[in-house]
């Protein structure tokens, strides 16, 4: 049953991620015409509540989504079961959130 809820969470986060990634990709491909610079990135994001929310949600959704994904990959390819698997996946997800939050803070604040 537990893994069913994980499935649901992964699909929900995929739904959330889809438009965000689309925008993100568009940004990378079209907005960044001539190379990246810190000024350009930060100029767009600094102090912007909109981009803050955008990336905030992105980070949380991606962390949950990727952690659940890595959990199934580990279960299937490494034959990993039990609490070790759950703990590792949770740690992975939490570190993504922490690192992501730090990144968002860095570019927005």
């Amino acid at each position: 049953m537990w893994s069913s809820y994980l499935y649901v969470a992964q699909r929900l986060t995929a739904f959330v991620l889809a438009p965000l990634v689309l925008v993100h990709l568009a940004l990378i491909v079209f907005a960044v015409q001539d190379g990246l610079s810190a000024a350009e990135i930060l100029g767009r994001t600094r102090g912007s509540l909109g981009w803050g929310c955008f990336y905030g949600i992105f980070v949380v959704a991606a962390a949950i989504h990727a952690a659940i994904g890595m959990r199934s990959v580990a279960a299937e390819f490494l034959r990993w079961r039990g609490w070790g698997l759950e703990a590792s996946a949770t740690c992975f997800g939490l570190s993504l959130i922490v690192l992501g939050a730090r990144a968002v803070a860095a570019v927005v604040l």
Partner: protein, 241 residues
């Protein structure tokens, strides 16, 4: 390679899980199925070769084996369709314990069928009239799409998730569960949904579609499993799981 033109080079699995391939030369015939090749070897070369078949016409699902790496029903697989340069490798089905040679133990396959609550639970009895049911409702159409499964376990052998996660219920059991979830006569749907939402359940499927590609009856377990996933998703969100 000084094999005569009218023979087939056949390698057949001998022994249990830790067996090996043994080579045979089998006369080529105009009408010859893979099951006929195996039968010829048992009758003329290796009398104790173990394999299984019953109906010989694609109805009982007992004769499935791995032929040149792919799971197939052998009684309805013409040699000409699968032999590569007059060569065949015949092994037992993957993902099931081997009893001996080409015969697998299908017990877990049927246990999972039950674990998915793949059985009807009626609301009426033999003393009631047969229910009037329109043949063309969407639910009935979904049932018809999946009902002709012959439980041959070809899909089960073709599914890598079963290999990676041996407790996964697998395509055939879930396909059956889905036909029952569409059956308006059935009273066991709540319990069945819980069963397929368990840790070995439908969400383990990554839509590899090996099941669809190999099912000899051209059924589509992937679509059935997607239906179950939707039902589980909905139930989880509404707190009914």
């Amino acid at each position: 390679m000084n094999r005569a033109d009218d023979t087939l080079a056949v390698e057949i699995w001998k022994g249990g899980t830790d067996g090996r391939l043994a080579a045979f030369e089998v006369p080529l015939r105009a009408n010859q199925t893979v099951l006929d090749v195996v039968t010829w070897v048992q009758r003329h070369r290796d009398p104790a070769l173990a394999y299984r078949f019953a109906c010989r016409v694609g109805m009982c699902g007992s004769c499935a084996m791995t032929v040149n790496g792919k799971p197939r029903w052998t009684c309805r697989t013409h040699v000409a369709k699968v032999a590569v340069e007059r060569h065949l490798t015949i092994e037992p089905l993957r993902n099931l314990p081997v009893i001996k040679d080409l015969a697998c133990d299908m017990t877990v396959f049927f246990e999972k069928w039950q674990a998915a609550r793949g059985r009807f639970e009626g609301r009426t009895t033999r003393h009631d009239e047969v229910v009037q049911l329109a043949p063309d409702t969407p639910a009935r159409v979904a049932i018809d799409a999946g009902i002709e499964c012959i439980n041959c376990a070809v899909c089960y052998a073709a599914c890598d998730v079963v290999a990676w996660k041996p407790d996964y219920l697998g395509p055939a059991a879930l396909n059956r569960a889905w036909t029952l979830q569409n059956d308006t006569r059935d009273a066991g749907q709540e319990a069945r949904l819980a069963a397929v939402a368990g840790d070995a359940g439908c969400h383990n499927c990554h839509s590899l579609q090996g099941c669809v590609a190999h099912c000899p009856k051209a059924l589509n377990p992937t679509a059935a499993i997607a239906g179950l996933k939707r039902a589980v998703f909905r139930a989880a969100l509404s707190g009914d799981l």
